[in-house]
Symmetry: C2
């Protein structure tokens, strides 16, 4: 009640208390892999924000759709797909400005993030733009890395093993060196880089120890031995490779 | 009803349908960082299993405590702390045998796992012992890696950056080489290895870019610049290091 009274008393001025920005990880795709905390925040949200890719439906919004109130305000940030960074940066500038307006009005903003906000997540671009002026809370989520491992039945690392996580667009020579020097390897963002990655792994004699995963935990999930992976891979696909010297017994 | 009838009809024989073993990730410690799926499975569980460390309270059970039914059967696997592997292996043999008994009786068994079951999780020892004979489902969880990053306000990786995850017990020379060659680094299981790790990071001139985290998301969480870390670190503590060439703007 005290909070409410204070706000009422100052209603003709901007509220003295700014809202909090929440970067909320939603997990890999299955709606029930959202955490209890994230579900509670989304269900109570009066303002939600999320990225959409080049005008397509937002994957993040789709994961959380059943939790979003009908009358919630929605801030969609349309991020163009491009190798150049300036167009995406402009989209985050615009999105951050809309979010700042809501925060200045005293509203909390729940930003929906596929996977985990700080693990290859676009939320870090909003964090960089807003965390100096606003209180920001990050709610971690299940990453696609452990989700794919779970669905593929592939334990990733135990005891003193090392895990290396690489993006598929890296140059071939670097991929080779890093895979060679690693124990367990996860290669993210495979997409059109699949032929290159597959060739490197074959050349290292490791194909039999690698699996391909796309859309893990979703109804159209694909998990296959790397040798059987389709020639066209979606951007959000992954290769898991465990050299498996240790039988984990 | 059909299922129930079938079981009743064959009640004098072993049930023909074995139970499913679920390896359920519980996240880093805060009970509301459990996923909706994990919470549903635990709340409905008639048999739960979990590791306890050298007779101490089980951290996994503590995270899930509010969800476990009062009349659930509990299988506690007491895993001794030791550098030798044989005593722990014996504990998992015994635990797997108890779990197999319940599965053979047609009961599902929910195995509680801190963090994620396949990411430095003890569940993989049960998986190795039981997955050839029983249906096993793994429910991924939030790892301590992204939980610590969230609490430390440290974005881990964006775009084409690489992430290297290392265990603290690695030899000093290997830690140095791997940290030197990496972009973002997470060092797990810091514990008594803190002085060695801190010296390596200082020697590489990276101390200012590193943070120390212990018991992230729990009430007694500690998140500090590495320079201010306590001399005695618990086993479940972590160092996050992002070289941060990229301002993520």
């Amino acid at each position: 009640m005290t909070d409410g009274d204070t706000r009422l008393a100052s209603s003709s001025h901007p509220p003295s208390r700014k809202g909090t920005l929440y970067g909320v990880g939603l997990g890999p795709g299955a709606p029930d892999l959202i955490t209890l905390r994230a579900a509670r925040l989304i269900a109570a949200a009066r303002v939600v924000a999320y990225p959409t890719l080049a005008g397509a439906q937002s994957f993040a919004r789709a994961i959380a759709a059943d939790l979003i109130a009908d009358d919630a305000q929605e801030i969609a940030m349309d991020v163009p797909m491009s190798v150049e960074r300036a167009p995406a940066q402009a989209a985050y500038d615009t999105g951050a400005a809309s979010i700042a307006l809501a925060l200045d009005a005293g509203e909390d903003v729940i930003c929906l993030c596929e996977g985990d906000p700080f693990f290859y997540g676009s939320f870090m671009y909003l964090f960089a733009r807003l965390s100096d002026r606003y209180h920001v809370e990050v709610v971690p989520g299940v990453t696609s890395v452990t989700a794919c491992a779970a669905r593929a039945g592939m334990p990733l690392v135990a005891r003193n093993e090392r895990l290396t996580i690489l993006p598929g667009p890296l140059p071939e020579a670097e991929l080779r060196t890093r895979i060679e020097g690693a124990e367990s390897v996860v290669i993210m963002k495979v997409g059109r880089h699949l032929p290159k990655i597959r060739a490197v792994i074959a050349d290292l004699g490791l194909t039999a120890k690698a699996r391909y995963a796309a859309r893990a935990t979703l109804p159209d999930e694909v998990i296959l031995p790397l040798a059987d992976a389709p020639d066209k891979a979606p951007y959000f696909s992954m290769i898991l490779l465990t050299k498996g010297a240790d039988p984990w017994l």
